[in-house]
Amino acid sequence: MAWLLLLVPLAGGSALLAVRARPGALLPGSVATMAATLAVGIWAAAAQPSATWRWGGGLTLGLDVEGLARVMVVLVPAVALPVVAYAAATVSDGLARLLALLSAFVGAMLLLVAAGDLVTLLVGWELVGACSWALIAHDWRDPERPRLAGQALLTTRTGDLGLVAAAAVAVGVAGTADYETLASLRGWPAQVVAGGLVLAAAAKSAQLPFSPWLFSAMAGPTPVSALLHSATMVAAGAYVLDRTVPLLPGASWMAAAVAVLGAATAVAGGVVASVQTDLKRALAASTSAQYGLILVAVGAGSTAAAGAHLVTHATFKALLFLGAGVALHAAGTLDLASLRLGRALPFAAATFAAGALALAGVPPLGAARSKEDILAAAGHASPWLAAAVVVAGFLSAVYAGRLALLAFGPGGPAAAHRPPAPAVRAALAALGAATVASAVLWLPGAGRVVEGAAGGRLFDAAAWELPASLATVALAALVVVGLARGGRLPSLGLPPGVQAGLAAWLGLPVAARRLVVDPVLAVSRRLASFDDRVVDAGVRLAGRVPVAASRALSWWSERSIDGVVHAVSGGTLLAAVASRQADERGVDRVVHAVSGATLLAAVASRQADERGIDRAVEDLARGTGAAGRSSRRLQSGLAHQYYVIVAAGLVATVAVAALGR
């Protein structure tokens, strides 16, 4: 039954492809698919089912909905539902394919989160990646987008090697890759598994130094970004660390590494998001930063805080991306200097504002609470970590405010020529309502519920933390307002070159190209030309050595096996060996039969090839007759002599093939 998590969206996606000729069926069909998937997810969260699939050869794949998986099986389809409705209402080219792939994407993500072992996780992980490639390359006729999709997939797949290694080591060393088994690993296998998981998660969750792939992923349609950045794909890295870090005491460095990685990405991503001139790119950089915060929570030992922020972030980030899509649809651009759609699109502006407030961490929205929980956990682990979280929080408040004002602030056109469709408004309303409703996290007793649902524990906040957070948010608001007053909100008062350099992920893509991609391509080209030279050398060698050898051999064996050197068909050799048994008459008969067959072959292949082969076959046929006569003389009864003949015959075949050309 647990397999329904995968099968329902796959079946729905196939059905959508089947009805692609009827565009009217696609919106209700895709919404129904996601609603059914959501129902299965809610059931799975309650029933905590498990299932196995025998792979053979002693391996078994398994599903086991427990821990944070119980939250994710609901979150993924719940976020996907408004996103597919938005997609069905806004995309026209290849809509059925897009919706079917989105459904498959959700199914693969559910397989990933419901996995009970690393191999099943790996299967879901790679399928999510492949779906993301196809989704990013949705507009495949474009000359650039398919290349960007490939770039995105290759970046994450480089990290995937870590997960392949982790799963392979677990299976190879422990015989199984169940999550529980990981806890028993010690020594180098534990280190490889831990390192592999961190690498894979860093790539998937767009942490340093892999973060720029999210910019390439922008080539996909808006709903793809909305889903990819919120509850699927990028969430996978944080999810898997949330599940596995507590299980690997054998690698004590893992938690600290995750926390440091997350903190660094949270701060760097905050800077990159703050200086963007493109709305979607700003949101993409903020995704890296927010997942950085989630990793801080995991590393600091609070998987519950990580789970809570995963949920609140998924909700408001999907909302913000759909809002960006509405802006793009209305204004035809994502350039932050020329949007200000507040008066034209008041409803979209209001929902975007709710999302931006959540991103900024303004109470009483739930995202503010989950961020406070992360700060509490960080403070518990190390003051430096807490300081990084405060800085990241300040930056997120700055860019959230900047984006809200520039994208949907006042001062733009009075009306949009293309107002959003009803399904779009419904999607925005649903996600906006969910963002606001997450305020329940501030209620007393909510922490207990979070701990129960997400697994793990929340830490009590130190007395200074909440005031500090509020102060940074207030400070950020002052900064944004100050910049806006001075008219420097788009440029931040930075020189264009500096802003562009910071915005391009601090030069990381260029560094990756110079340090990794270009050298690999250069090595590959060098090897290829080296290989071509080896081919030629090999041919010369293969052409000369056997010819020389066969000449030497035929000189050496002139008297006894001269005839056989010409006799090169396999059948003749067999006959020569077999004739040891046969009497004189038998030999005659065999030889005649063989030469007869060879003659037939010769006749046939004369038609087959008039130029070179023909002559060779005729020679073979003539040689066969001679071989028959001489082979009778060769029955010395000494086995080793026959081996020499067989070997010599082979060498001779080489010679004939070489000379007869």
């Binding site: 000359p143 797949r157 060996v577």
Partner: protein
């Protein structure tokens, strides 16, 4: 039954050659009818195979042949050879059904295929080393004619290169076989007897030399770096169906020989020299992938990925050989993965080469940068290439992943550093296949391909079984893995 499977294609080949006059269509129909016989027999053999024979051979047929030399005609199957033979029978039907330029000689074309099928099945089903060797060499002849006569480009030269290289390889293998034979007591070529005897047990110089000769001989056929250089030109100039057989079936003869002969008959010597072979395998994996990445020719690209994939197989076999007594569980993973990789690679790369033939027959070129945007004109072709390309780069849910993952799982437990280096091959193959898909099928459609036809019904019919099996093995590998496991468990558990 197995003998029928081997010799019916041979009789079919003779019948085609003797037939006075047949047009292409009738010749193809006759050939397909003949090739259907071994395929059906393999299905029957699969159903009859019980796999509980403790790793022994089943469905054995034997005839006295040259008893004084210990040579017998003996055929049979176990869990390693059955999947390979079945894949061979299927791939031959698909290859012969595929449209081809028979250049006015349809009878000879299909006769060459049937001769090759007979030899190929013989290699996998033979239970006598001498018989194995004979079939091994006859397969060269069939392939030589297919490339030389029906190839394109500089096909004579490529065919000759192929012939010389691999014949030199089989000469080395012959010497190794004789070395093994001369060490047996009583002297025999019978595989089961040699497996029982373990003739060169205890090692020594002689065992080392025999191992070296086997490695060179089988390594040329596989091919492993640096003996691979015959492969790309042979593939590029061969007609597509012959390429599919060359990659799908003939390469497996080398890796099959490593398992059937070297690993089974001289495991202690293999264990001693497994590490250098594993190093060579990892070099093949990384080198093959990197060289493939630089290719601009579709067929050369796929050809070099074969070097990469055969590297996985050899890595699995070498790891299994190293650990068959110290860590039988990991060895079993590695050898199961290697065997399944042979079958998976046969199906995947067979399909990829057939599809390359479809590209050639429409465009007359393999240069990647001349294409683009074909997805809009040819959705079926695009879908087929995508499935096989993703299978080849190891996407889960498709056959390649199942095999490669098990190879790596076993190899990591035995040679962790080598396995880690070998992983790099995965990301490079992903890069090259993604680039290929993007260059050929995505982006804007060049003007000159505006009338590009999609796959014909015949092409679809030939490819469908291969693609379906790639998915079926990827999703539910148990039915194949259990058969393989029946043979490999006793092999590594000694």
């Amino acid at each position: 039954m197995l003998s029928t499977a081997i010799f019916v294609p041979l009789l079919g080949a003779l019948a085609l050659l003797l037939a006075p006059r047949l047009d292409e269509r009738s010749a193809r129909r006759l050939a397909l009818a003949v090739a259907a016989v071994p395929l059906a027999l393999m299905v029957v053999a699969w159903l009859a195979f019980d796999g509980d024979g403790g790793g022994g051979f089943e469905l054995v047929e034997s005839v006295r042949w040259i008893p004084t030399l210990g040579v017998g005609y003996k055929v049979g199957v176990d869990g390693v050879s059955l999947p390979l033979a079945a894949m061979t029978a299927l791939l031959f039907v698909a290859a012969m059904a595929y449209p081809a330029e028979v250049q006015g000689r349809p009878r000879q074309y299909y006769a060459a295929f049937l001769l090759l099928e007979s030899a190929s099945l013989g290699v996998f089903l033979a239970l006598d080393l001498f018989l194995f060797y004979v079939f091994f060499d006859v397969s060269l002849v069939g392939m030589y004619f297919l490339i030389a006569v029906w190839g394109h480009g500089d096909s004579q030269r490529s065919a000759l290169k192929f012939f010389l290289y691999t014949l030199a390889g089989s000469l080395a293998m012959l010497l190794a076989i004789l070395g093994l034979y001369l060490a047996s007591e009583p002297r025999t070529f019978d595989m089961a007897a040699l497996i029982d005897q373990q003739p060169l047990r205890g090692g020594g110089l002689r065992a080392g030399l025999v191992f070296l000769a086997f490695t060179v001989g089988l390594g040329v056929k596989t091919p492993i770096v640096p003996f691979h250089t015959w492969l790309p030109p042979a593939h590029v100039d061969a007609p597509a169906p012959a390429s599919a057989i060359l990659a799908g079936v003939l390469l497996k003869m080398g890796t099959y020989g490593f398992i059937r002969i070297v690993l089974s008959m001289m495991p202690d010597t293999f264990a001693r020299y497994a590490l250098p072979l594993a190093v060579v395998a990892v070099v093949s994996i990384v080198y093959g992938a990197l060289v493939a990445l630089a290719q601009t020719n579709l067929k050369r690209l796929v050809a070099y990925t074969s070097v990469n994939h055969m590297g996985y197989v050899i890595l699995g076999v070498a790891a299994a050989a190293a650990a068959s007594s110290s860590d039988p569980d990991a060895a079993r993973l590695a050898i199961n993965g290697a065997t399944l990789e042979m079958v998976a690679h046969g199906l995947i790369t067979g399909a990829l080469f057939l599809l390359a033939g479809s590209v050639w027959s429409r465009a007359g070129t393999y240069e990647l940068d001349r294409f683009g945007g074909l997805a809009g004109r040819a959705p079926a072709m695009t879908g087929a290439v995508m499935v096989t390309a993703f299978a080849s780069l190891g996407l889960p849910g498709l056959a390649g992943f199942v095999a490669e993952f098990q190879v790596f799982a076993g190899a990591f437990a035995i040679y962790p550093v080598l396995a880690g280096i070998g992983l790099l091959g995965i990301v490079v193959t992903a890069a090259l296949f993604l680039r290929m898909l993007q260059q050929v099928f995505l982006g804007p459609l060049p003007e000159r391909w505006a009338a590009w036809p999609d796959l014909s019904r015949r092409e679809v019919a030939a490819l469908a079984p291969l693609v379906v099996l790639v998915v079926a093995i990827g999703v539910a590998p148990a039915w194949v893995l259990d058969v393989i496991d029946a043979a490999t468990r006793p092999l590594v558990g000694r």
